[in-house]
Amino acid sequence: MGNLLEISSTMLYTAFILYLIATAFFGATIKQNKNSNQKGLAEKIGISLTVIGFLAQLVYFVTRWMASGHAPVSNMFEFVTFFGMAMVLAFIILYFIYRFTILGLFALPVAMIVIAYASMFPRDIAPLVPSLQSHWLYIHVTTVALGNGILAISFVAGLIYLIRQIDQSVSSKRTTWLELILYTLVLFIGFSVITVIFNITGYEAKFNYVENGNEVTANYHMPPIVGPKEAQAMTQGTMEPWFETPEWMHGKDAPRKFNTLIWSFLTGTLLYLLTRLALRKRIGAAIQPILKKANPDLLDEVSYRAVAIGFPVFTLGGLIFAAIWAQIAWDRFWGWDPKEVWALITWFFYAAFLHLRLSRGWHGERSAWLAVGGFAIIMFNLIGVNLLLAGLHSYA
């Protein structure tokens, strides 16, 4: 059994590396100075590696399922990883419809950021609480993840569209917003980097404090910039917190998460600034030239098509299957739990998106901004709701 788990995590690691190499090959397809034969070869290798990587991740999924006895979609690490896998699958599907290599150059890195982010959460196999013991667990979660994965490709195409189309010769509101999106992606990388660094150094600091009238212990794995309110340091020789967690933060483990958030911001910002320093221009402006050959009409089409394909899948998994399961497990198919509400919000958002596409003037850039907004909502529901809003779905 220990063996299976080992295979499982090795395969996840392998998949990650394969996606990385595939990205490089997709990058090679847009080099100006290569002939079309070489480009065709690079493209073929790129997509083959992607497919092999996906299969490797599938092995990760199956072996972990075998080891734990339940579908590995029951905690933060497992379902965010699965979301990354669904994104890769969605990319593969859309690649074979459109044969659009530049999509891979962006979709795979975004998927990798997601998987790396997921891997920073505890990876122990946890037993299923009674409410999760149902076949609907994997029926519901896999369908939602696939729907979200396809919708995420809409974001990727929209992002490429924006980088390709926004005028970078002058600084404007649009360049600032685009830069903000890229900066946010770097923040996620920042989280992974700083977590790995302190994991390697094995940092630990414990605090005792009172939360909602109960004595609890916070186990910090990063030096406490911010400590719990009126906390008692339990570990000798660690850093003294610079300030206390504000009172309005109430979630479980709020001080530790807030501290991690600050570290991620610091690291991400540092990474971003270093990149800017090296490039001497906005990241968007630096990427723009390599996208010259990408056809904006096709980007717009892919972004819209991904929503057209993903919306029914999301509705089925995120609302209908979710409702059926909720009826069986919790005696009501709809209960206004934050996760449910945010699924409804996602649905409202993409419904509005699809209706706006009927009007003139909502194609192209505006549509691309909307695709970004939709992805932000999806990510908030995937991560934010679990970490920030308490509810039935908070098992992270």
Binding site: S68, P127, V129, N214, E301, I345, L356, R360
Partner: protein
Amino acid sequence: MNNIKCECGHVNPEGTVLCEACGKPIEKNQHIDGNDTKKLLNMRYDGTARRSQTYNKSFIDKTWAFFSSVKVGVWLIVIALIASAIGTIYPQQQYIPTDAISRDPAVFYEDRYGIFGKIFYQLGLHNLYSSWWYMLLIALIGVSLVICSLDRFVPLYKALKRQKPKRHKTFISRQRFYSETDNVSDDEVEQLKTELQRQRYKISEDNGHILAEKGRFSRWGPYVNHIGLIIILIAALLRTTPLFYLDQYVWVREGEQVVIPGTDGEYFIENKKFILETYDENDERFKEAIKKQGEMIPSNFQTNAIIYKVKDDGVVGSTKELEKVKEDEIRLNHPLKFDGYTLYQAGYQLNEFTSMSFKLHKTDDPEEKAIDTFQIDLTNPKNEYKLDNGFVVKIDDYLPDYELYNGQPKSKTNYPRNPAFVFLVYPPNKDDVEISFAGIGRNIDATGENEYKLGITDFDVRNASGLTVRRDYTLPLFGLGALIFMIGVIQGMYWQHRRIWIHPNQNTLLLAAHTNKNWFGLKKDIEKAIANTSVNNVSDQQELDK
């Protein structure tokens, strides 16, 4: 009705933008779809006459026009989206955590979230999703759905039925995909036609003019899915009535048999046993996770239950006889169903007290030798207990679920979870009465001068199961709505309505094409069809947004 006759001979209803038969723009109506300022024709509803765009005089016209606007629909969706998000800032009332200082919303929100919590509560956002304005918003979306659909579906259906293969030249040249080719031979046109047929296009012809069409049914997808949504909204409305929706909660203790609420006394449930199981903390797989959790992780909540039905023997007033209907285990994810009712495992209470035994002894007796003992049946406590030797113990106050609240003893619930008593002890042949307070782990002598003391010697406990009782006749309707929605949305999204027009114009062959989605796919179809002919590929005439 001011019908408009087109030069092709077709008579169009008032307000038509593009002739239903030949597509020729009707001059005076071009502003309706904004065709007057653009090169390309707006093909959204094939330029049909929509009521909302045609009549705008009476109040009804204006209301219709308002709700038929997609823009209004989108605004309603966006407002509903923002409102829904606001409701998640703090937990809704039903999700106030059990460890809260108080489950009274007036106390909880301000206590935990300060001034913002107070505002949240005072604005009524703690019950946002059942507020009148949120329901109104959803109802308005429903109205918008119906009117939007009717406004478009009827004219679109007619127009697509009446369309002719022969289109006006302006219609052809103002399509997004368009090409002109000189000197195309008949053979090549024939080849083009065959190739389109092979791609499952339906061909109709009129004097050399060809219309190739496929996937028209996908145009009805939006209307189908809107019907599904309407059914869901109707189901939600019906669910607010007790006739269609029953929601009850029942506590049943082990060994007890109680009537199931909401069944008019027709059904009874017996709780044979409540079972709570946890994961083995030594399990190889889960060891680490359980250790991190710091407490036991439950693996099963289960009630072994028997359902009885009252036997109807036709005799009025006769004693009720019960007949066993079903025996099953009720677990999470495994509810028990019988005759339209469903029972769900929803809560439990371990170790509720059923009886307590006390002994009376002298306060200063170091051996606490019992003068006498008595047992209180907590399901049915008596007012007084007469003991041997002439002692009488009266129950002055019984607190089934004792807690000290602001220095005052009170009972948290009516269930014997932590029973405590205020006893009045009347010793024989004495006028004065002694007051003593006794509960689990506490025995307080109010005056400190009591000659006799009461001590707990024994007690019995049992578990209780909390079950929700549901009967929901709206579920099939919700299911039907969801099914129709899915069919409609897949029909509209996964298929596209593609049309290709071939229009001979003297020596030139005009080729135009339109689809409601997936232009890339349409282009590939055309590329395949014109391969090996001299027909020029269509160019995309779309004016990009800038």
